[in-house]
Amino acid sequence: MSRRRPVAMLLLLGALALAAAALAVDPTEMPTPQLQARYVALTHELRCMQCQNETLADSPVQLAADLRAEVRDMLLAGKSDEEIRAFMVARYGDFILFRPRFTARTAWLWLAPGILLLVGAAVLVRVMRQRAALLAGDIEPVEDDGRN
């Protein structure tokens, strides 16, 4: 097995450059903490288009590295977060954003939780009223065995 070592090591190092490893570490440092925070936030908000369920920050593929470099360059050039998002969307579509925008087409998704809660509340109120009304006629004792 020791004969394989040097070849294996070369293959390993070579493959690592292109490999679909499970992790990307991004040691980019921006000149100010604010820019750093914005950089981290943006790269976590954008989707890697090649490994589609990973963020730009975590994806190890070359495309992700290129796009991270774009984000960095745009931040250094003084662009706003919205401009950077618009840049990405213009080229890759809405799919590159992990946070769906609030548009006419996605309104149902964002409003759904609130609407569901309201429906739930309505159901709650109705049932509780019904049962409270039945209370007077309900003389059956509750089984008490000391348990829930």
Binding site: L16, L23, V25, N53, T106, L109, R131, R147
Partner: protein, 652 residues
């Protein structure tokens, strides 16, 4: 020989499942005693046949039989024995076989436990389980046969996916599936009741332990998956709202609602049709999850190989089975009425809140998970949904639930009598708030508003849960297992809330570029990078880094992250190195070789993250303990009232 034997066993299993289904449903309907008696034999036979098939497949893996396509795709001569065996469920066909095996096991358990149940009812339960088994066996044989041969046989195998070559593979899928599949039992009980046309408090009492145990397993399975993602995938994250994760989380949420709804139906005969619907819904979500991860309709980091043909089969199966159950529901549910009543502040109200909020949460996750699919189907364009959607919307329903939990625990059945508990509740709340403020501002110096709120809620839940049991214990009163189990489970939930809040707020993460010998300081710890060295494993080559961690000069740990290159699949895998120190999880991962001895390194400090999974375990233990309560094994109304320790009888 073995693969043929295995395939033959599966065919026999299919036939036996068919008989089980037929005898189980037609027997009671037509009043045939002999048919009903035959059901248990069919159950036993099916189990033996499925086990035989599993055994054959395991043998094929162990013997490195690369003429079997599934073995060739998922194994390799250099693969260690442990992984050759666990590779059984490493891909679609084998994991389906695991599903079927666990379903057969649950069915046997139900057959044994149902000995006390009325004959017709238990036959129906087993019959419905037989229908499910039949569907899955047919699916396997028709579209996903693990025993297909390669001609000519492969010289060597393709190796198991390197990400799966981890001890967690041995336990995560079996435990997860045990839970997933276990909801079929509640479903079967529900269908049996609908077929019979009768659903009463006794039915709820029979159904409760089965459902709670399945729920406990599912919770553990999810936690294991999360833990695995944390240390294996190298990002230090533990939940991504990935469609496959959501597919297991939704049944768990609905399952939680179900076990609470069953409590109300058991105790007071209320919410009958609602409980029925929840039982159908929980299993439907399990089935839906199976569909989503195997049909290619959703994009995910860990869905199985996509195949639309399989998707169609499962969809048809789903439509027939769930559609049938819901049709039964539409027919029978109107007959289930009760005239019991309760006050606004009664326990029933709080359990109703519990159900509504959990179902809203599950629906929200459902909407987010299926949004890309729906949007595409309705031609609304592509929409992309991720944590920025799920996190806030999930918390929207969960926070109120956490706040109401302590109140619900102290509310009495039928009439809440919460006024009597006011002092206790306020005192525990005050203590919780003080402790939370201490944690948020004392130990850590920063944080969002959410942190003290979340921590306070978690602590309040724990304190409120412990009040009554401690009181009973001090007065030497008996503490039934169901109460003890409930207390433990709720405490587990409180721990989870504390852990999640803390982790969200106080994680520190930095990616840095380090040369050999260089140090960096993160979160109060110093990390010194001592360079890398080549290593060799059983079927991989690796580069191992050494990172020495100190705190204020004192040594803390030596972390050894690796980057592995597996020989066969040429996939590079990051192995993180994790140590616990003073409640913090220190995680280090190697990034890329930046040349000249410099490497990029990820350092992450997560306080209390292990508490999350510990909390999940505590919840599961509580559930199983509660399910083992004596009352589930004895007839109703034949027990001495608790609160009195009878002489000679052990307390609890």
């Amino acid at each position: 020989m073995l693969p043929e034997l295995g395939q033959f066993a599966l065919i026999l299993a299919l036939l036996l499942a068919g008989l089980q289904a037929f005898f189980g449903i037609a027997g009671p309907a037509l009043g045939r005693e002999r048919w009903m008696a035959a059901v248990t034999s069919a159950v036993a036979g099916q189990f033996v046949m499925v086990a035989t098939a599993v055994g054959c497949l395991v043998a094929c893996f162990v013997n490195e039989d690369f003429s079997v396509r599934y073995v060739a795709e998922n194994s390799n001569s250099a693969l260690p024995l442990f992984y050759r065996v666990t590779a059984l469920w490493g891909a679609h066909e084998g994991s389906l076989l695991l599903w079927i095996q666990l379903l057969a096991a649950w069915t046997v358990a139900v057959a044994i436990g149902a000995a006390r149940l009325p004959r017709r009812f238990s036959a129906r339960v087993l019959g419905v389980l037989g229908v499910v088994s039949f569907g899955f066996l047919l699916f396997t044989l028709a579209t996903s046969n693990p025993f297909l041969r390669l001609d000519p046989p492969a010289g060597d195998g393709n190796d198991l996916n390197p990400i799966l070559q981890d001890p967690a593979l041995a336990i995560h899928p079996p435990i997860l599936y045990t839970g997933y599949v276990g909801f079929a039992v509640a479903f079967a009980f529900a269908c049996a009741a609908m077929l019979e046309g009768r659903l009463d408090q006794q039915w709820a009492r029979w159904t409760r332990p089965w459902t709670t145990v399945a729920w406990a397993f599912l919770g553990c399975g999810i936690a294991l998956g999360s833990f695995w993602a944390y240390y294996e995938l190298g990002w230090g994250g533990f939940w991504f709202w990935d469609p496959v994760e959501n597919a297991s989380f939704m049944p768990w949420l609905v399952g939680t609602a179900l076990i609470h709804s069953l409590a109300v139906t058991d105790k007071r005969g209320l919410f009958k049709s609602w409980t029925l619907l929840l039982a159908i819904l929980a299993f439907s979500l399990s089935m839906l999850g199976t569909f989503l991860v195997r049909s290619g309709v959703l994009v995910s980091v860990h869905s199985f190989a996509a195949d639309p043909a399989r998707g169609i089969f499962i969809l048809v199966f789903l439509a027939l089975m769930i559609g049938g159950a819901l049709a039964l529901y539409a027919w029978r549910a109107p007959l289930l009425r009760s005239t019991a009543g309760f006050e606004f502040g009664a326990r029933e109200s709080f359990l109703l809140f519990n159900n509504v909020l959990l179902v809203v949460a599950a629906s929200t996750v459902f909407a987010g998970t299926l949004a890309p699919l729906v949007s595409d189907a309705l031609k609304l364009g592509t929409v992309s949904v991720g944590p920025p959607y799920f996190n806030p919307t999930f918390m929207l329903s969960m926070l109120p639930l956490m706040a109401l939990l302590p109140l619900g625990i102290h509310a009495g059945w039928k009439r809440g009598h919460l006024k009597d508990r006011q002092r206790t509740l306020l005192m525990t709340l005050a203590v919780a708030v003080i402790l939370a403020a201490g944690v948020a501002f004392g130990i850590y110096s920063h944080g969002a508003l959410l942190t003290p709120v979340g921590t306070a809620l978690g602590i309040w839940i724990i304190l409120a849960s412990l009040v009554d049991p401690i009181d009973r214990w001090r007065r030497r009163l008996s503490l039934p297992r169901s109460v003890l189990g409930m207390t433990i489970a709720h405490c587990g939930l409180g721990l989870a809330v504390i852990a999640l809040t803390t982790v969200q707020s106080f994680t520190v993460e930095r990616d840095v570029a380090l040369a050999a010998g260089a140090s960096t300081s993160v979160g109060g710890y110093q990390f010194r990078f001592d360079g890398v060295a080549p290593l060799e494993g059983p079927n991989y080559d690796a580069i191992g880094g050494t990172i020495v961690v100190t705190r204020a000069g004192a040594p803390v740990a030596v972390l050894r992250p690796q980057k592995r290159q597996y020989w066969v699949q040429h996939q590079a895998i990051t192995q993180t190195s994790i140590r616990m120190n003073r409640g913090n999880n220190l995680l280090v991962a190697l990034g890329d070789d930046l040349g000249a001895g410099r490497w990029s390194v990820r350092i992450q400090i997560r306080p209390l993250v292990s508490l999350i999974w510990l909390a999940a375990l505590v919840m599961a233990i509580g559930g199983v303990l509660a399910a083992s309560d004596r009352r589930y094994r004895s007839a109703r109304a034949a027990e001495a009232p608790a609160g009195v320790a009878l002489p000679g009888e052990p307390a609890g």
